[in-house]
């Protein structure tokens, strides 16, 4: 459905996107991660046909969005800017975009979506008077107005309160599972991506560093990992220093009072456990470590930083 092949975009000498290749299948929720300035937004713009690739291609249903209005009609977009006219009311904004997309039964659709987003009472208020969160919600229902097959979302829950963030997350999951809508999620919120995305790509300095299912990334992060939960959380940093200096340890991450340890070999964990106990640090729990997306992301980003 979305096929990005050796996509490169240069701005002068600067390569904003460098040879990116990935695919997104129908009904998939795909997370696109990367630090600021890594090329995330440029990739989105290339897919949406707002920029021309220097080389390579980004095809939606086999065609280029820039050349085919019918392809653009199948895509719902929420970019960094909400894409709303502050001097128009919520209804007028939706009505305008609905007409551009030729949405049938527009009035009823607008009313249903405003009701769904909890904005029905503000229907006739100018968007300029809305809070950031309300504008984001309105931007999201604007993107859904024409029942798109693909949703391209750039930080959809930025600026939303936790309840609204949950609403957005639930909505994305529902859209994907029940309506088979494909979601391309550009986000900094690793927790959000971890909760809702099936596959992720991590881009840095214009290059895709990894692209795989979350499960595969967690299991193929290189080395076996164990998690030590200490009974005295105040000694976590001390324990981390001790383990880092130990043989058989590749990396130590402290996380919510526990330690996630990447091992060079599986057999090292009893030795480390004994070492901690020996120093008077009681281990309350020892379990097989499952690396979070944050760990994986930071690993990749820092590794590439140190390589450059």
């Amino acid at each position: 459905m979305l096929e990005v092949t050796q996509l490169t975009k240069r701005f002068g000498r600067q390569k904003a996107v460098d040879n990116a290749t990935f695919k997104v299948d129908e009904g998939e929720v795909f997370g696109y991660l990367g630090p600021n300035g890594s090329g995330k937004t440029t990739t989105m713009r290339l897919i949406l046909g707002l920029l021309r690739p220097t080389s390579g291609d980004a095809l939606l249903w086999g065609g280029r969005a820039s050349e085919m209005p019918d392809i653009r009609r199948r895509v719902g977009v929420l970019l960094e800017a909400d894409g709303l006219y502050p001097r128009l009311s919520a209804y007028e904004n939706l009505d305008y975009f609905g007409r551009l997309y030729r949405v049938p039964g527009l009035d009823g659709r607008i009313d249903r979506l405003l009701e769904f987003a909890g904005l029905a009472e503000r229907r006739n208020d100018r968007v300029g008077t809305f809070s950031r969160g309300m504008r984001r919600k309105l931007g999201l229902i604007r993107a859904l107005l024409h029942s798109p097959d693909l949703l391209m979302l750039d930080e959809p829950s930025a600026g939303l309160d936790p309840e609204a963030q949950k609403m957005v997350r639930d909505l994305i999951v529902t859209l994907s599972s029940e309506s088979n809508i494909t979601v391309f999620l550009n986000s900094h919120d690793l927790d959000e991506v971890q909760r809702i995305c099936g596959r992720v790509a991590i881009i840095q300095a214009g290059r895709i560093r990894v692209c795989d299912t979350l499960k595969a990334l967690q299991s193929s992060s290189g080395s076996p990992a164990v998690e030590f939960v200490l009974s005295d959380a105040s000694r976590v940093e001390e324990a981390a220093r001790l383990l880092r200096a130990s043989e058989g340890v590749r990396e130590v991450h402290s996380r919510n009072g526990s330690l996630l340890v990447d091992l060079a070999r599986e057999s090292a964990s009893p030795v480390l456990l004994a070492l901690l106990e020996e120093r008077g640090m009681r281990v309350e729990e020892l379990k097989r470590g499952k690396r979070s997306l944050e760990d994986i992301y930071l690993d990749i980003v820092h590794r590439e930083d140190s390589n450059e």
Binding site: L50, L51, R72, A81, G83, R87, L88, E92
Partner: protein, 234 residues
């Protein structure tokens, strides 16, 4: 064309419901109308229809150009500064449709205000002279049909530039284009009111010039480019 109509309706509505825009438009229409009207009553050497004709010829063009210039920034440039244009470019609407709808909306709005100023001027002149002042048919035709063409030329060209160029370039181009036109029209109008007789030849020449410029702009609208617009966002 339906997308141009949708854009036209939205932009016209936004202009008409913007209190600041309407207030400044009406203010200029009244001030310029009254100023020119005073000029005609003190120049009684020419016949009334000649004086009124030349006055309306320059006044409505001047006001149309002035208002077209000020409203163009609201309709084209503001969408870039607000960041809405990127979302709009992702819609199925064509760039030509967007440009056309916006150009038409500004043209209609500016023309209505310029024409209202012309009518007001005729009324004030009539009241001051104690007689009914009616311009000749060529002037009425000019006001109704050619002034919108002239406004559309300026708005179309400025809108085109505002979509494709950055903020700095737009400021320079806007002033470089607007100041000479405005100053030229103002000076011509002020010096020739009462002596310049508006004929069908004048009307035809201006209409032809405007039509040629518009045709060039319509052709050039194929060069509007999404990448150029996105990469010149402020």
């Amino acid at each position: 064309m339906s997308e141009a109509r949708t854009v036209f309706r939205k932009e016209l509505r936004e202009l008409a419901f913007s209190r600041g825009t309407v207030a400044s438009g009406v203010l200029f229409a009244v001030v310029f109308g009254a100023m020119y009207s005073l000029r005609i009553t003190s120049n009684m050497a020419a016949t009334l229809d000649v004086s009124l004709g030349s006055l309306l010829f320059f006044l409505t063009t001047l006001l149309g150009v002035f208002m077209g210039y000020s409203f163009t920034a609201q309709v084209f440039l503001r969408e870039k500064t607000d960041g809405v244009v990127e979302t709009l470019l992702c819609s199925p609407a064509s760039l030509r449709g967007l440009w056309l709808g916006k150009t038409l909306a500004v043209t209609v709005f500016a023309h209505v205000l310029a024409a209202a100023s012309g009518v007001l001027t005729a009324l004030v002149t009539s009241a001051r002279l104690g007689t009914v002042a009616v311009p000749n048919v060529s002037v009425i035709a000019y006001l109704a049909c050619v002034v919108p063409l002239v406004i559309a030329c300026l708005v179309g060209a400025l809108g085109f530039a505002q979509l494709l160029l950055g903020m700095k370039e737009n400021r320079v181009i806007g002033l470089a284009l607007f100041i000479p036109i405005f100053a030229g029209l103002y000076g011509l109008g002020y010096s020739s009111t009462g002596t310049f007789v508006v004929t069908w030849v004048h009307v035809g020449l201006v209409a032809l010039g405007a039509a040629i410029v518009l045709a060039v702009l319509a052709w050039a609208s194929r060069f509007l480019d999404r990448e150029r617009i996105v990469t010149t966002l402020p």
